[in-house]
Amino acid sequence: MDFLIEKATALGVPTLLAQVGAMLAVCAVIILYISVAAMFMIWWERKISAHMQVRLGPMRVGGWHGWAQSIADGVKLLLKEDIIPTQADKLVFALAPIVVFATALATYVIVPFGPGLMVKDLNIGVLYYISISSLTVVGIIMAGWSSNNKYSVLGAMRSAAQAVSYEVPLVVSVLGVIMIVGSLNMQTIVEHQAGRWGPLPWNWMIFGGGLQVVGFLCYFTAALAECNRMPFDIPEAESELVAGFHVEYSGIRFSMFFLAEYANMFVVAAIAVTMFLGGWRGPDFVSPLLGATLGPKVAGVFWFLTKSYFLIFVMMWLRWTLARLRVDQLMHLGWKVLLPISFINLGATGLWLVLKDMR
């Protein structure tokens, strides 16, 4: 975004206007990306689940394998009647999906799509992501309570308890990487994963010092729980609480929750890729075609998206293979299994760093 601002001021636009304009433009781009990516992910999920279940999935809408199915669903949701339960608290009811979606949107600020392609290269990148993602829980509680429905409240509280419990292993497992890199800045973390052998996998943090593989698995599990994905999707358990906290939502409000969930999935995968899998680093095969300025950027974006969508594929794979954990088993897993493992990872990383310095 700084890049845009510089260009604009160089052209003579007043600073304030340039800043605000750049912010709005970048925001629009991100919202556009989220919409397209979410639609793609929804279609992809339906196709993946279908093929894993010996069926075909959407085939008709738009011709080839029903690629326009998501667009059709989106249009349908937009055109639906806006139903608000009579006893519901209308202000909070309306505010909840906005809070959830806005926080999902806000986490995109620190997603490094490519070299120099970040909305804002914050110094506190990872910490920013962690703090904003805890705002989603607030939105969920607001949604559950304002629907004025026993099941919604139960679902919301379960979801909040789950999200809060799994935040701790999430943070601690990421701390290992931060300790090794020495910075919270996302681009620094990606650049740290370069090495003497260029952009090859064995510089990735996942094979890095200490037990970072453990850290990665711990992070991935905790992130699945944060996104309310299977096997942790008790809050949305269709066969138990009938969609939990967003049961009373329909139409565009429901689509906000849905979009936010998929946006969250992408950010979680993006953070995992950045921290553990080398970010946008990858063999640069584009530069010969597009030149030295544009080439690395395009290659970076390509590798980043490939790795992120691979992780998203794994998330979807897990969803359609595993059963659902019961709420107390979920809590047990978070507090009694993941948390000690992530602490062990942290300790091992610290030990490794000390030994490395002593050599």
């Binding site: 608290d89 110094n123 506190i124 703090s131 805890s134 429905n149 509280m157």
Partner: protein, 165 residues
């Protein structure tokens, strides 16, 4: 008026207005929600003061932890899905007077008591400095706080445990 000043006034007004809603709202859940946004406004003010670590932690702890705790407490103690919990406030006049007096006193102390520099010196990066300070100069208070938190947790678990027959 520069952008920063305008932003400061906006954020300050935002935080104060929401804080007023917290105190005056009839519906306790609305008060809690207003508290959340007020805290976010405070986080914005911290960023204007170049304290980015503090701003992130403000959101993480206050909004992501403490207000959620408040909401849990409200939801668990009121009848599930009943009417909103009513807030009973019988001392509005007295508390109003006390609030105004406090505001005047604090305002006098803030404007007369400190020498504010013309421009805030640029801070080097926050997070490493805070980390170093916590681990070296302020290590003892840091450990003491963690023991306090542990005691709080143990106490809460003990209180919440049902009596065994």
């Amino acid at each position: 008026m520069s952008v920063e000043q305008g932003l400061f006034y906006f954020l300050a007004a935002f935080s104060v207005a929401l804080a007023l809603i917290v105190v005056l709202a009839q519906n306790i859940v609305r008060a809690a929600v207003a508290l959340i946004f007020s805290f976010c406004g405070l986080a914005g003010l911290y960023i204007l003061l170049d304290a980015e670590f503090l701003a992130a932690v403000q959101v993480l702890i206050y909004v992501g932890g403490i207000t959620i705790l408040l909401l849990f407490a409200i939801l668990l103690t009121s009848r599930i899905a009943g009417k909103g919990v009513r807030v009973l406030n019988e001392q509005k006049v007295v508390s109003g007077i006390v609030a105004v007096v406090l505001m005047v006193l604090l305002g006098l102390a803030a404007t007369r008591g400190f020498e504010a520099p013309a421009e805030l010196p640029k801070q080097p990066e926050n997070t490493p400095r805070i980390g170093t300070l916590l681990m070296t100069t302020y290590a003892l208070p840091f450990e003491a706080v963690s023991i306090l938190l542990l005691a709080g947790m143990v106490g809460a678990i003990f209180l919440a445990r049902k009596e065994e027959k």
